[in-house]
């Protein structure tokens, strides 16, 4: 036991370190491992096209709901399109849309593209606030020169 220090305080510190280190190492390891497939990047349709998002990769797709694109199927499936200024992406979603989901408004869909290029959404977010524009959507649209503040009618890409 040569490494065990003689001083009482040093021994106390070493004991604490020995107790804390494994838990911290475990937490750090789990964190790195857990982050590998839990991170999902945010894209607008044009960015997703440019980045060649692989089918099956969990991402978020945000933009404005293209007016007239919402089709509700009897089996509960909903199809709509998310658009930014340059690009439009088809989205398929099984479930009830959020109460604040409206055509022409900003939404964020979580899910992945399938092999046919249709975005299979697992969750669709629209917010409680009726003026809500998801921050990522607003930022991305501002970059494209789309954003004109509240109430301005936006232009859309060709479906």
């Amino acid at each position: 036991m040569t490494f065990w220090p003689k001083s009482r305080t040093a021994r106390r510190r070493l004991t604490i370190l020995l107790a804390v280190a494994p838990v911290l190492a475990l937490a750090a390891g789990l964190t790195l491992w857990g982050l590998r497939d839990s991170i999902s990047l945010f894209y607008t349709p044009a960015q997703a096209r440019a980045a060649h998002v692989a089918p099956g990769r969990a991402v978020q797709l945000g933009g404005l709901v293209l007016p007239g694109s919402v089709v509700k199927h009897p089996d509960g499936r909903v199809a709509f399109a998310i658009a930014d200024k340059q690009e439009t992406a088809r989205v398929s979603y099984q479930g009830d849309l959020p109460d604040l989901f409206r055509e022409g408004q900003g939404v964020v869909a979580e899910g992945s593209f399938d092999a046919a290029g249709v975005f299979q959404a697992k969750r669709v977010l629209a917010k409680h606030d009726e003026k809500y524009m998801p921050r990522e959507v607003a930022d991305a649209l501002k970059k494209q020169g789309e954003w004109r503040g509240d109430g301005a009618a936006p232009a859309y890409g060709k479906p």
Binding site: T9, R12, T15, A19, V20, V23, L24, L26, A27, L30, T31, W33, G34, L35, D37, S38, I39, S40, L41, F42, A58, Q60, K72, H73, P74, D75, G76, Q94, G95, D96, D99, L100, V108, E110, L125, K127, H128, D129, E130, K131, Y132, P134, R135, E136, D139
Partner: protein, 652 residues
Amino acid sequence: MTVELGAFALTLALALSLAQAALGFAGARRPSLAGAGEGAAIGAFAGVAAAFAALVAAFVVSDFSVTNVAANSHTAKPLLYKVAGAWGSHEGSMLLWCLILTGFGAAVAAFGRGLPAGLKSRALGVQGLLGLLFLAYTVFASNPLARLAGPPIEGRSLNPLLQDPALAFHPPFLYLGYVGFSVVFSFAVAALVEGRVDAAWARWARPWTLAAWSFLTVGIALGSFWAYYELGWGGWWFWDPVENASFMPWLIGAALLHSAVVTEKRGALSGWTVFLALAAFTFSMLGAFLVRSGVLTSVHAFAVDPTRGVLLLSILGLSSGAAFALFAWRAPALAPGGVFAPASRESLIVLNNILLTAATGAVMFGTLYPLIYEAVAGAPITVGPPYFNLVFGVLMGLAMLALPFGPLTAWKRGDLAASADRLKLAAAVAVLVGFIVFALVSPRKALASGGVALGAWVIAGALAEVAERTRAFKAPWPEVRRRLTGLPRGAWGMTLAHAGLGVFILGACYETAWKVEAAEALSLGGQLRLGAFELTLKDVGTVDGPNYLAERGRITVTRAGRPVCAPEPERRFYPAGKQSTSEVALCNLGVSQIYVVLGERRASPDGGPAWLVRSYFNPWVQLIYLGPLLMALGGLLSLSDRRLRFAVGRKP
């Protein structure tokens, strides 16, 4: 006029907070000033209370010349939601925050008679500084009592999703918890200024921690319950930034509760306890910042305003930065407490603290990682639930495994083998429960069965501790009864809280693993299969509510031909905000629930009307809410223990 008086009272409270801070610190040296500081604390509370009453009154009479009322109320709204509207918006909720902050200050001034004069005076001074910061923010940056130049005839109404009993009471409880930690924070800073943290200090700080933590537990449970049945997604926890923001102070508060016991009983860990006391309120403020600044995209949040976010971040940085700097300066001088062996109750509580703080760190990292990533890589991302489930689940699983050993192991030098021997029966019960669930519940899920076994282990462990203390099954009944009635309330509180945690784990694991979901667009008479149940849409009628119109579906649920229940979900339309919401119908079957949502009307293939009916069978879901309720009750029961109320020695 009431509103102007309220605004005046609020400004007065701001001035009194300044006086409270100055007199509090000065009063620690000159006792003649300490009484004035206490008076200022009570006065500040009275001022904020008057302002809050004025705001509630403005909401009740629908005074739309007040900006906040015009934006959040409506004449047709039921009275409960008019009152709740007062704290439904950003401005109003900050006023509620200030009300509770000054309220706790006044409570310390009024009820802290047994406290040493210096500590009390300084704690009130720190509380006054916090009050000063938050009241200044409320008065200058988010005044809820500001008038509107051209008052509208009708208000914009409170968001219909927030017009719900659970959500009406959710903010007050949540804030009692968040802000309750401010008292512990103030005590910690005062103790650091004095340079003395001892067992007596921990005994004074502990009741406030217990109260805050219990309120926070109820607040989070109410919020989760609201999300469960009002959002209509069938889930109760989404690892959303806003949920995490409320969960982090809860975890730190739980760690603090335990480490304060060690400091109180054994005088050890004093530096760590003070650190946690500072961290708990820091996380509360971080939560306030995250929710209101909009830096993270959340499914439920206030309307956001970046300038306010910067101000809140400044308040957070200023108060916590100063407190932690003080800690770094003074903590090395704190006397190290009693020593303990590696196998002792102290060590187990240290383990609990390490795991709880590591879990908090993991939750914080996952919550803030999108911010870090966006700052570094420039692309927005989110961190999904799998990350949280994995990291948090493993760390808490370890903590749950160790939990029953804590109360059964002696202070200072314990015998883990003896504790294990006393837990043999509990372990057998847990393993048996796990195997039964694994064998009988289909589909088979090993991990979830393990989780259920873990819940049973925690409950059985808590009961084993009571049995051990009362010598149940060993001593004759009269002696057991004498011991049962003789147990202090604090012990019952701990047992109840631990058992409540076990109940929660049972519910959370079982519900998550074995919930059944089904959705289909049904025409009248259509049927939907949900596991063993059959749902039939009988009829859809219209209903005129006080401030909404609704379609109400009549649905019968049968199981093998026998009727089970008749849920009536609604889809409501609120003309005031032109919003529609779905009102979920819940059927209780024991502790399980059938959850039915009526979706919007759409065309069926044959051209007639059809409604999207979405339904979940959530087995054991009520345990998820029963568990936290038991935990909060346990906390309040401990709080009522004579020891905490009276044993606070009055030292000369």
